[in-house]
Symmetry: C4
Subunit: 350 residues, 4 copies
């Protein structure tokens, strides 16, 4: 059994069933959630031989922050359901692996508790109440967040179908939105804004003074539009299959977006089904600056807190370095498109 499968099993033994269900589930019929990993697996590699790989380095930088690994932590919610220390453990654990965390704006941990424990970015759901949103981001900035990641794929929340009790019936108040002053506010004000436009990018950049990443992009034209509107980076994501079911797999969407951003100077990230160092290698080869891992960081957090997160990221990074050595690529810059078989044409299996 692969160690990743073992990790999921161990997490399942620890997590309450409604939480585990919530973490795993996808929207609708679950098509996109179910297929993400298989699309990375389907891409075959064309390794180089007879390259000097006696010294392999996975070091890189994202938006000016140096990291020891391009394997970073995607935003997820309810981290305090996975582990009492929640986001604090996640950031500390990631920092110990030389990685970085994108912390959810729904985090159950006050951003202040993250200050100084490691590099992190803040994910932003823009709420109908823009003021509450900006206050939340202000707290993030004050606590050291180095970038704002605008989630663009959630004008409404994807429908999830499941059996058994909903996680929302069991989560205590203090595990929810610790950084939004939601008490006494009308529910509708706390809903996601459905009227975002590319202009939202500049508004966020100006208001926070931080670089803006747009997360949830799957199209080349949208990617170009985001960069033209001021985004420093684009994040290819279908939200773990939790928003529009049937949205294209990120392993298929990545290359055309990379082509669209070539020469713009914008960075490019991807998440969705990345479960091995080989998957990370494929993503880098197709054009990603870095990859983000979501669900597995929850399993690791549940099983062993910060130490679990460190182990997970260290192991994935070791797998990546191993795959780079075997592919003849001693550093991230040498992980090029031609390492992926049949990568030149943009068409994929439908």
């Amino acid at each position: 059994m692969r160690w990743m499968d073992t990790l999921v099993q161990e997490a399942e033994a620890w997590l309450p069933a409604p939480v585990m269900t919530y973490f795993r589930q996808g929207a609708g019929a679950g098509l996109s959630a179910a297929e993400a990993e298989a699309h990375w697996d389907a891409l075959r590699l064309l390794p180089h031989v007879l390259r000097d790989v006696s010294d392999v380095s996975t070091r890189t930088a994202v938006l000016g922050t140096s990291v020891d690994t391009p394997v970073l932590v995607a935003p997820t919610t309810l981290q305090r359901q996975a582990h009492e220390e929640g986001e604090a453990a996640m950031v500390r654990g990631a920092a110990d692996a030389g990685s970085l965390v994108c912390v959810s704006s729904n985090a159950g941990t006050p951003f202040g508790a993250l200050a100084g424990s490691g590099p992190w970015w803040v994910q932003a759901y823009v709420l109908r109440d823009r003021q509450l949103t900006l206050e939340m981001l202000g707290r993030a900035r004050q606590a050291g967040a180095r970038a704002v990641v605008l989630t663009a794929d959630t004008p409404v929340v994807g429908e999830k179908y499941g059996n058994g009790p909903s996680v929302w019936e069991t989560v205590p108040d203090d595990h929810l939105m610790a950084n939004v002053a939601w008490r006494g506010v009308e529910d509708t004000q706390l809903e996601k804004a459905a009227d975002l436009t590319p202009a939202t990018i500049d508004w966020l950049r100006t208001a926070t003074g931080l670089p803006v990443v747009v997360k949830g992009v799957l199209r080349a034209d949208d990617a170009r539009e985001c960069v033209a509107a001021g985004a420093s980076a684009v994040w290819v994501s279908n939200h773990g299959g939790r928003q529009l079911d049937g949205a294209v797999a990120t392993a298929r969407a990545l290359r055309p977006v990379a082509d669209a951003l070539a020469g713009t100077g914008a960075e490019l990230y991807v998440d969705g089904g990345i479960r091995t160092g080989r998957h990370a290698l494929v993503a880098l080869a197709l054009g990603a600056t870095a990859v983000f891992v979501g669900r597995p960081t929850l399993w690791a957090l549940a099983v062993d807190g910060a130490a679990g997160v460190t182990r997970l990221l260290t192991e994935l990074t070791a797998e990546l370095a191993h795959a780079m050595a075997l592919a003849g690529a001693p550093d991230v810059a040498s992980v090029t498109r031609d390492l992926v078989h049949d990568a030149s044409p943009t068409r994929h299996r439908s």
Copy 2:
């Protein structure tokens, strides 16, 4: 379990086995019937982000009739086996959801009973006895039918193989062809006409004074020919896999037909395996003006009559609106071809 699967199970508990079998079965080896839904599922989406979708509308119009939803009701037979009120409940239930029904010329409900209960079209099997056919259509027109849908794919009836007793042994006379004066007529006169040609379109239009839709078209050349011969719309259908087994899936046939009709002003409908709002979104993106749902409306009718039909259509429409919001398309006009991944080339998997 998806709610659609639950609906099927509930219907199965209500419906007599021969009726359930008849509703479900396809012709021949059942290839086309079995694969319809999977072909919609196989088409991946490329949603837009950062579009204002705070106000999503599914409103549209079909042949001049305004509808709140492009999810309409396909013609099916033996509706009175599903529910005592049959077609009357179907039309009323659809109207309550802002939808429209295409009523079968085999309906067990006298057309007069439908008058005033909601918008409906009449489906036409042209019989060998043309006079009986025209009288049937005259009754339909008098009862308010707004269009004639000529079924073109049934010169002979597709062979269906099944175990157990046939539905035809158990259906009472008054559930059959309530609008055709079949008593005392020779059986051969009641057979489907096998000598239809494009000229039949104009004959129907002139005789009824109603716009004519041609249902059962799967080819671009046939579609153009129908419009040239006077059809107001073309309906891509393989008859739920109940006629020529092995006929191409409508999800694959739709795009070339849409291309063929571009600029003609003709409307375009599609049915076959549409079971979710996402499927409807894909169909609209590929060029459909509206989609028709068949078997699920029988399940809904069996389970809860008119109210069941309303719930089904309301739910599918809500799913469509949800998918439109997540795809960045606030209205039907903005559901464009580019939302479907790999949609540009006409080739598909074979």
Copy 3:
């Protein structure tokens, strides 16, 4: 259950296990034998609508012989193991269905017993001993064989692997090669000739005075070469998957061969996995003049002798006529290439 599956089951109940095994098995790993039918199934149809199909005819002609159906009987061996009357029943049964039989040169029935019972062709394995071969063909000609079908794909016999006793241990002498004077001849003289060339075609034509069909062709260049060398027809076949395992499916090989023969006046036949009228329709659309059915005729013969064969061919022909009506093709000439989806490009799935 499809009637064809039922037929196989019934035959299995009658036939000795080693015979059933021998009839069913393919060479090597059985790849080609296993996939034949699926390749016909994979080809989707694009039926025409609004064509006058009130009078559908399957009549055609093969090498000048009029037949009521293009569904003909392929050569198979050990027919007397399936039914005491063997080839005699096969020819009589086929004639009653308006069809024609290609009788194996290994037949256990003396050719003389076939005279006058219906149209038939003789299949020819050219043996190392050419004289024995010509004598066998002379007997066939005398008994009314109208063409010689040269099996070109058997320079050596394909290896078949199976469990249980071999059929060859149980077959009585008088069920084998009743038309070859094999007694007292050295075994090697009875082996298949491995040194055939295109010149063999003319040699056969001259020696027998009959038109020559080359069976076992899978390539366009070979097909052209055969016709240039005097063949009147080419028969696309991989010998039911019993010779070169991994040989391309005939459903994939047919179209390029048809393209190669266009304009030559040569006829084109195909066998391999044709089990429904729909399969026959696809084959005709891709360019076949007629199709040949092998194993099912053995099942039919085993179950009910000549009457079983008549029923089988009548049923397949009825299915074909039904499919033609549903495809808008009233006669064989109107079954054109465009009825098959994605048929224009020669590339297939690999």
Copy 4:
């Protein structure tokens, strides 16, 4: 059951479980190891008919050594765990089948014991300690090795995951690296060199005076680079799926590499999943000079020592000759690219 499957079962009954596991396993998730054979199976054949194949010869030559068969023995380790006589039995058994062995530099048999027992090449892992490497190769040359096969795909050893005890805990010292003077040397000096470059090829050629084959090449550009740097042959291999998991199947990599080497005079070999004579035929058709078989030779060695190896290679060669006859190719030179269906375009399924 195919005889190859029977052979695996028999070997499994003989071999200790950790050894069997080690022989079978692939790296990582085992994707490349699992799919190798299926990719050969997926390539369909277009046999020629009416060619004179009364005399089929599989004779050929590799780097000047005449062999009766292009089916050769790939290097594998721990052969003395399969059979007491190990590499000695392997070389003798292969010679009796007219074949040739590539002996691992990790062999547990002193090279001297192989002298005179049959043609063999030596596989080379270049160690960090170059001197130890050259001494090992010197022994090989002295014992009659006719070529050096540089393994280029192993700068680090692929990670293998498995349950149960590791083989390395149970193997006695004298089954390991009998030709490397490893006693008293630091472990790091015995590690694989990770700093090889194309210049290593010339270094090996000069130091040993033997022709150099580069094994582990999967890319056209690498293949050209190797030949330009002095390689006499290129060996397409993904190391049996034991190095970079997800590396392209050799059945897919072979053709572009063959195209790259056309006209250079370099020979081309391939291994990975070749289990039948038909697979060998496909490989030769796609451009291989010869094929190498790995794991099955271990099963054969385990089951019956040298005699088992002879039987295996004789049987595979007989299958190849049989397939050549059925494909209309009487000798290796006539096994051309056009025998493989859809072989002309370089693109494959991804």
